[in-house]
């Protein structure tokens, strides 16, 4: 696979939470060459399976979510669109954004606001509440009502481009970059002998409540699950006391209640063996990732989280380092091949 090309295809596709039908096929297409079986379920989750050939094989699930944050149309006002959010949208970054309105016939739009001339000094220092903003699609009220019904999803529109050395900037790197790392792991595992069946999963609707992970982990019923998602990376405006990951220093693994120690040990050992740098952080309780939903599914699933450091999360200009993405894929593949003594003993593999 060509990481840069595939990443661009994935990120420029539009699929806000609940409207993943646009991207599921593309995800399945990228994954398909590396797996024995593949399907898109009725909710648009993507599942690729590598069989180890054993009867009643143990199961490893490696997942990343394929939805993106977005907006949804809630009304029309003299041709302008009222909207709500799909997932956690940062209202501070909304004015001045370009969007794609995903109506039957697509429309471009911009989110505008009244000009600063005449605004009070206090209001200049405040963000405009989302409920006061509108999307301008340049249509009359009549045409807007006819062509863009209430309930139409809206995606942010921004270019995909390389930034400096090894970095890329795009919308939806959260979490398509991790999905591509999952695909990269599958590619690295192609033709390799496995101890267990490995399920490579693209989950839906993570941004609105870890929903696809809830469904797929029930359906797959894995023994171990690694959820891969982006994590906030350091920027100059972070407080010195914030202990967060940095771009270009490898994938991050949180330690905490959402992470099974045996799995964390296996990942650390695999990383050490292959000299893959891992940034260890602490997440005492919920990790805010698919692993949180998966952990308590059925009788309980041993979960871990592997994250890709990312700057400017939930904006249309997210930034990652491609080297981190590659290392993330390698680390997940390495763990699948050699999950460590504790996991192997526990699962008898």
């Amino acid at each position: 696979m060509n990481i840069l090309d595939d990443l661009e295809r994935l990120c420029t596709e539009t699929a806000p939470s609940g409207f993943e039908c646009n991207v599921s096929g593309l995800c399945a297409g990228i994954l398909e060459p590396f797996v024995d079986e593949i399907y898109v379920d009725p909710m648009y989750n993507v599942v690729g399976i590598r069989r180890c050939g054993r009867e009643n094989a143990r199961k490893l699930m490696i997942c990343a979510h394929i939805d993106e944050i977005g907006l949804i149309v809630t009304g029309h006002e003299e041709g302008f669109l009222r909207f709500g959010q799909l997932g956690g949208v940062d209202q501070r970054m909304l004015p001045g954004r370009e969007v794609t309105v995903l109506s039957k016939k697509r429309h471009f739009g911009v989110i505008g606001a009244a000009a600063p001339h005449g605004a009070s000094p206090e209001s200049m220092n405040k963000s405009i509440p989302m409920k006061d903003l509108r999307i301008d699609v340049g249509l009359s009220q009549k045409r807007a009502e006819r062509e863009i019904p209430v309930g139409t999803p809206v995606s942010f529109r921004s270019p995909f481009f390389e930034l400096g050395k090894d970095c890329v900037c795009s919308k939806s790197l959260d979490d398509r970059a991790c999905f591509l790392a999952v695909c990269r792991a599958a590619e690295l595992l192609k033709d390799r002998q496995l101890h267990w069946d490995v399920y490579f999963v693209g989950t839906i609707s993570e941004e609105v409540g870890l929903r696809g992970a809830t469904m797929t982990s029930f359906a797959i019923d894995p023994d171990v699950c690694i959820a891969s998602d982006v994590c906030q990376a350091w920027t100059p405006d972070c407080k010195p006391t914030d202990y967060i990951s940095k771009l270009g220093e490898g994938p991050r693994m949180p330690i905490g209640a959402n992470v099974a120690p045996a799995v964390a040990h296996g990942i650390t050992a695999a990383a050490a063996e292959k000299r893959i740098p891992v940034q260890i952080t602490v997440s005492p309780s919920r990790t805010g990732t698919d692993a949180w939903a998966v952990q308590t599914q059925r009788e309980g699933i041993a979960t871990a989280v592997l994250s890709l450091p990312l700057r400017y999360m939930h904006t249309p200009q997210e930034v990652i380092n491609l080297r981190d993405l590659e290392l993330l894929g390698e680390l997940m593949a390495e763990f699948a091949l050699e999950p460590g003594e504790e996991v192997r003993t526990c699962l008898n593999i």
Partner: protein, 340 residues
């Protein structure tokens, strides 16, 4: 029984979250009269089943299983303490604003009635549950205890009536008894269908969509339809807060905070409405969840949609809905679930 009589009967039946027995008995009898096979699951959900009726069910594939859900529980007020002079202090079951219930008549499961009041001198801005109490018209704790115990639950006892023009119905618990009525009306107008139909009246929705979670797991459907009320924007000051209004037809659910409806199910409901020449709206509800949340995430995932009933004054004792919206909603449901 006409629509108004049905809605009145259901909205007056006692059944706060966790204590749905009385309203369930009323609904169960009506479902049985309509030829459904009824069972009650462990949490108290009422599950009414109609097997496929058309000849196509001889096909080799298993019939498609559909779950339709409306919750039968209502908001309630639970007694937490009885004062020395016989006044009842209480907490809430479900989302209730103190300002909505001052001066309200309430009723307990055993028929005991009382009224809610605020501590003397309380200003509107200081209203809180701490300052509210129920007066049973007694003067001693021992006397109050003859009628009510700590842990008993009161429901709104406000009247249910039809507007002067005959178009609207107002009363407590249109949420979600009006949709229970919609479902019962649909259950008597079903067409022949090869679908395996499960109409479920769920419990404990108002305290966290709890019944829906076990009902969804138990029924294990291929597709689900949710029927609940939604805020309407045809009230003063509410123009931009909701996407639909009363009197303009049932609303096709697009999303709420717990579920984003499956595009194929949305399309199916809208196509059915078009075929029936029914005018419908679209419901995008940004605050508040429904039974659709746990049901669509159940097991391996369930394509889910629904029909919302636009409602004025949600969670107040005077919830107001348009009668025609209820009747057309029933028509839409009956056709949609048979043709899915």
């Amino acid at each position: 029984m006409n629509t108004v009589e049905l809605v009145k009967l259901l909205s007056k039946a006692y059944g706060p979250s966790g204590w749905e027995g009385q309203v369930r008995d009323v609904i169960k009898k009506m479902a049985e009269d309509r030829g459904f096979e009824c069972r009650v699951d462990t949490l108290g959900n009422l599950i009414c089943h109609r097997a496929p009726t058309s000849a196509d069910n001889m096909a080799e594939a298993a019939p498609q299983k559909l779950l339709m859900a409306a919750h039968m529980d209502s908001l309630g007020l639970m007694v937490t303490r009885i004062t020395g002079d016989g006044y009842l202090k209480f907490g809430k079951l479900g989302g209730i604003a103190p300002m909505d219930i001052v001066g309200l008549p309430v009723r307990f499961a055993n028929g005991t009635v009382g009224t809610i009041h605020a501590n003397s001198g309380t200003e509107a801005k200081d209203l809180s549950f701490d300052r509210l109490y129920i007066d049973l018209g007694v003067s001693k704790k021992e006397e109050a205890e003859k009628y009510v115990k700590v842990g008993d639950v009161a429901v709104y006892d406000s009247p249910c009536y039809v507007s002067a023009n005959g178009k609207y119905i107002t009363g407590p618990y249109m949420d979600d008894r009006a949709c229970c009525a919609m479902m019962l009306l649909a259950m008597e107008q079903l067409e022949e269908s090869e679908n395996d139909l499960y109409f479920v009246f769920t419990v404990q929705e108002e305290v966290g969509t709890r019944g829906a979670q076990t009902a969804g797991y138990g029924v294990d459907p291929d597709m689900a339809f949710i029927f609940d009320v939604t805020d309407s924007n045809d009230v003063p000051g509410g123009e931009a807060d909701a996407t639909c209004c009363t009197g303009k037809g049932p609303a096709v659910m697009i999303m709420d905070s717990s579920v984003i409806c499956h595009p194929a199910v949305v399309a199916h409901i809208e196509e059915t409405a078009k075929a029936l020449k029914l005018k419908v709206q679209r419901d995008v509800c940004l605050v508040g969840g429904t039974d659709g949340g746990p049901i669509h995430k159940g097991r391996g995932g369930v394509p889910t949609g629904g029909v919302s009933l636009p409602l004025r004054y949600m969670h107040t004792p005077q919830e107001t809905a348009c009668i025609k919206d209820i009747e057309e909603g029933a028509k839409l449901i009956a056709a949609a679930v048979c043709r899915a």
